[in-house]
C-alpha cells in the first residue's frame, strides 16, 4: 500500500497529530514508571517472612498492676505472671503450641544488636534483629532448622531487657551465619552480640526482621533467636493454632487471660492479631501505592484511548468526501481501514519514541529524588507495545466507520 496519502493529509491536521503524539508520549512515560513502581512494591510485599504465617497468632499485652521490676522479687513475680499466661493459653482448644516471643516479623517493634566475630573487632560486622523467647518459639513460629538444634528448656533464662545477664547460646538465621562465616561452619562458633559472647547452636533457613524501615533494609533477614523470656510490664506470646481456628482461639485467649488478671491492656488493634493481620498492616502503605498507581495507570490509558477515538472520529467525519472519492476510484474497504490503522501506527510510533525518552528521563529524575533503581528495559518495551496496541484498538471503531463510507458520497455535495 502507498503511504503518501497518509502524510499528505498530515499538514492539514498538524495540531491534532501533535496533541496525540504528546499525549501518547506523556502517558507512556508515566505508565512505564508507575508500573515499575507497582512491580517493585509487589515484589517487596511477596517476600517471605520465614515463619509459617497460616495459623500463627500474636498476643501482646501490658499489665496495669505489674509489680515493681526494680527488685529481683519483682522480676520473679513478672516471670510467674508470664508463665501463668502461657500455661492458660496452652490449655485452650485448637492451640498446637505456645511460646513466649517478644516480637514477630513485620510487626514493627524491634530489638537489635551489632555483630562481631571477636570481641576486639573495632567495627561491627553487621546488625541483627534479636528475637527473645523460650524453647517453644522455634516450633511455634514454624521456622525451618537447617543445622544444629532448638533450645533446651533448661537453657531458657528470664530477665529484663536491659539486664546485665546475657544468654550463652543462640540460634541464628542463615543470613547471619553466611555473613559472619562466609566459608561456612558457623555452627558451634562463638559470636559477639553487642560485645557479649554467644555460641551458635542452631541455624534457621529464613527469618525476616520485625522492621520494614529503611535503616533495616540492608539486613532484612539477619535475625537471632535468644533463649530469654523477657520480663517487664508488657509481655508478648506467639500461638500456633489449627488452621481455620484463629478467630475462635483469639476469643478464647482473651477470655482466658482476662480471667487470670483483668487488669491488663490488650486492645483489639494490637493486643490480639493473626500473622495475616500483621502482614496486612505492615504493607498497608505499599498496598495503597499499588492500588493508587494501578488505578491511575488504568484511567490514563482510558483517557488516552478516548482522546484517540475522539480525534480520529473527527478526521473521519472531515474526510468523508475524500474517502468516498478513494472508494470510487477503486480503493477497497480494507484499504480505507488500513489507511487509518497505519496512520495511527505512525502517530503512536512517534509518540512512543518520544515517550521512551521521556520515560527514561522521568526514571532518572526519580532515581535522583526517590531512591529508585534504573527502570529495566522490559517495562519500557511492554509500555511501547501497550501504547501501540491501545492506539490500534481505539482507532478501529472510527476506521471501520470510515471504511463503510459508500463510494457514492464522492458524487454528492460538490
Amino acid at each position: 500500500m502507498t503511504m503518501h496519502p497518509i502524510f499528505r493529509t498530515w499538514k492539514r491536521h498538524m495540531a491534532g497529530i501533535v496533541l496525540i503524539v504528546v499525549q501518547i508520549a506523556l502517558t507512556l512515560a508515566i505508565v512505564c514508571n508507575a508500573l515499575f513502581i507497582v512491580g517493585q512494591r509487589i515484589e517487596r510485599m511477596r517476600r517471605p517472612s520465614g515463619v509459617q504465617e497460616q495459623g500463627l497468632i500474636r498476643i501482646s499485652q501490658t499489665w496495669l498492676d505489674a509489680p515493681d521490676a526494680g527488685t529481683p522479687a519483682g522480676v520473679d513475680k513478672l516471670d510467674a505472671m508470664q508463665r501463668a499466661d502461657l500455661e492458660a493459653l496452652r490449655r485452650l482448644p485448637g492451640v498446637i503450641d505456645v511460646a513466649a516471643s517478644d516480637s514477630m516479623p513485620l510487626q514493627g517493634a524491634i530489638w537489635s544488636g551489632d555483630l562481631r566475630r571477636d570481641a576486639n573487632q573495632k567495627r561491627a560486622m553487621g546488625q541483627a534483629a534479636l528475637y527473645y523467647g523460650d524453647d517453644h518459639m522455634l516450633p511455634t513460629l514454624g521456622l525451618r532448622l537447617v543445622a544444629g538444634r532448638n533450645f533446651n528448656p533448661e537453657e531458657i533464662d528470664h530477665h529484663m531487657l536491659r539486664s546485665v545477664q546475657t544468654p550463652a547460646v543462640c540460634i541464628v538465621s542463615r543470613a547471619v551465619a553466611d555473613q559472619l562465616f562466609p566459608a561456612g561452619g558457623a555452627l558451634g562458633k562463638t559470636i559477639y552480640v553487642n560485645r557479649h559472647p554467644i555460641t551458635i547452636i542452631g541455624i534457621v533457613a529464613l527469618l525476616q526482621t520485625p522492621t520494614l524501615a529503611e535503616w533495616g533494609r540492608d539486613w532484612a533477614y539477619d535475625s537471632i533467636l535468644m533463649p530469654v523470656r523477657l520480663d517487664g510490664a508488657s509481655a508478648s506470646y506467639a500461638l500456633r493454632v489449627r488452621p481455620g481456628r484463629e478467630q475462635a482461639v483469639m476469643r478464647a485467649a482473651r477470655d482466658a487471660l482476662f480471667a487470670i488478671d483483668p487488669l491488663r491492656d490488650m486492645p483489639d488493634t494490637w493486643g490480639l492479631q493473626t500473622m495475616r493481620e500483621i502482614r496486612f498492616k505492615a504493607y498497608r502503605g505499599d498496598r495503597g501505592t499499588v492500588i493508587v498507581l494501578g488505578i491511575v495507570c488504568l484511567i490514563l490509558l482510558m483517557v488516552t484511548a478516548a482522546g484517540i477515538v475522539g480525534l480520529t472520529s473527527f478526521w473521519v467525519g472531515q474526510r468523508r468526501r475524500q474517502i468516498g472519492i478513494r472508494r470510487a476510484l477503486g480503493a477497497r474497504r480494507l484499504d480505507i481501514l488500513r489507511h487509518f490503522q497505519t496512520e495511527n501506527l505512525f502517530i503512536a510510533g512517534i509518540g512512543a519514541v518520544l515517550g521512551v525518552l521521556l520515560a527514561v528521563a522521568l526514571n532518572l529524575w526519580l532515581m535522583a529524588h526517590y531512591e529508585m533503581p534504573r527502570i529495566p528495559p522490559p517495562y519500557v518495551f511492554a509500555g511501547v507495545l501497550v501504547m501501540l496496541a491501545i492506539g490500534q484498538a481505539s482507532v478501529f471503531v472510527p476506521a471501520r466507520r470510515a471504511s463503510k463510507v459508500p463510494p457514492v458520497v464522492a458524487t454528492r455535495a460538490v
Binding site: L26, I30, M160, L161, E214, G285, V296, L311
Partner: protein, 325 residues
C-alpha cells in the same frame, strides 16, 4: 489507657492552646509538684459529658489529680511536639497525625505519678532502675525554646554547645555534638510528609497535564466539527472575538461541570478515607478554601485547554464553509 504528657506550664502559652474551662497550672504548681492536670476536650466529653470539670478529681494510676483546666478542641496536625523517630518509620508516619494527649500534667508531677512505667528507648548504658527516667543514661526529654531573633538563636546555640563541653569535662557526656533544628527543620528531618505522598502529588499533576492535552484534542474536534455552523454565524456578522468568546464559554462550562463532578468524587474519596482506621481519619474533610481552589483549578485548566481550539475555530472563514452547505 489515656496518653499523658508531662510538661511545664509554659507549654500552653507557647503553643497557644485554647481553653474551654479553667486555665493552665501556675509555675508555682509546677515547682511544688502539685497533683494538678489539664485535660483534653475529648476526655472531658468522655468522663464528664462536656460539663465544666475544673476542680473535679481524676484518678491516674494510684494518684488523685485535681483538674485545673479543660482544653477547647485543639488538633495540631501533625502533632508537632510529639514528632520523633520519623527516619525509622519507613514512610508510615500516620502516627504523627494523632490527637493530642488526654492528660497534661506538670513535668515532675507527671514523672512521679507514672513512676516506673516509662519506656526507655534510646539509651547508651544500662538503666539502673527500669521505668525510672531522671538519672537514666537515655534520651528522655524534648525541649522547646522560643527565640525571637537571630542573635538569640545564635546565643542559644553557643549556650548549648558550651553546656555539652562542660558536661563532657564532667564526664557525663561522651561526645559534644549538638544540634538545634527549627520546628520546620525538625519536621522535614522526620519525614512528616512521606515521600510516597510527594510522589503522588507529582503524579496528580502529570495526570492533569495528560487530561489537558486530551481535552485540547477533544475540544479542537468538537469546535471544528461545527465549522459550518460557525461559518454561518460569521457570515451573519459575528466577529472573530465573538466566536472565540463563545468557544471559551463552552470550555469554561465543561470545566465547571467537570469541577462539580470532581468535587462529588472527592467527597466520596474522603468519606472512604474517614472509614479507614487511621490516625488522621478525622482530618479528612474538604474545607471551603480547598473546594474553591479545586473548582478554580478545574475552570482555569479548561479555559487554558480551550484557548487553542477556540483560536482555531475563530479563524474559520465564512465563505468557504457556506459553500459546502
Amino acid at each position: 489507657m489515656v496518653p499523658m504528657l508531662a510538661t511545664t506550664s509554659e507549654f500552653f502559652a507557647m503553643f497557644k492552646v485554647p481553653f474551654q474551662y479553667g486555665s493552665a497550672w501556675t509555675a508555682a504548681d509546677g515547682s511544688s509538684r502539685a497533683r494538678v492536670a489539664v485535660i483534653s476536650s475529648d476526655l472531658n466529653d468522655k468522663l464528664f459529658g462536656g460539663a465544666n470539670s475544673v476542680g473535679k478529681t481524676l484518678r491516674l494510676k494510684d494518684s488523685d489529680v485535681r483538674i485545673v483546666g479543660v482544653m477547647k478542641r485543639w488538633r495540631p496536625s501533625p502533632l508537632f511536639y510529639d514528632v520523633r523517630g520519623g527516619r525509622f518509620a519507613e514512610g508510615q508516619t500516620s502516627s504523627f497525625y494523632v490527637k493530642p494527649e488526654g492528660v497534661f500534667m506538670p513535668f515532675f508531677s507527671g514523672l512521679e505519678v507514672n513512676e516506673g512505667n516509662f519506656w526507655q528507648f534510646t539509651c547508651w548504658g544500662k538503666v539502673a532502675t527500669p521505668g525510672h527516667l531522671q538519672d537514666a543514661p537515655c534520651v528522655w526529654v524534648g525541649l522547646w525554646v522560643q527565640l525571637d531573633s537571630a542573635t538569640k538563636v545564635a546565643d542559644y546555640r553557643t549556650f548549648i554547645a558550651n553546656y555539652a563541653q562542660q558536661q563532657k569535662l564532667l564526664g557525663r557526656f561522651a561526645n559534644t555534638d549538638t544540634r538545634m533544628p527549627s520546628l520546620m527543620q525538625w519536621l522535614v528531618f522526620n519525614h512528616v510528609v512521606p515521600s510516597d505522598v510527594k510522589l503522588q502529588t507529582w503524579l496528580a499533576f502529570a495526570f492533569l497535564a495528560i487530561c489537558l492535552f486530551n481535552m485540547i484534542g477533544l475540544l479542537l474536534a468538537k469546535f471544528l466539527r461545527r465549522s459550518s455552523e460557525i461559518g454561518v454565524r460569521r457570515a451573519l456578522g459575528a466577529s472573530r472575538g465573538a466566536i472565540f468568546a463563545q468557544c471559551l464559554v463552552e470550555a469554561g462550562m465543561v470545566g465547571v461541570v467537570g469541577g462539580i463532578g470532581g468535587w462529588l468524587l472527592t467527597l466520596l474519596g474522603l468519606w472512604l478515607v474517614r472509614r479507614q482506621p487511621v490516625e488522621y481519619a478525622d482530618l479528612a474533610h474538604l474545607d471551603i478554601g480547598m473546594f474553591g481552589l479545586t473548582l478554580a483549578l478545574a475552570v482555569a485548566a479548561s479555559l487554558a485547554a480551550g484557548l487553542l481550539p477556540a483560536l482555531r475555530a475563530s479563524r474559520v472563514a465564512p465563505a468557504l464553509q457556506l459553500k459546502t452547505l
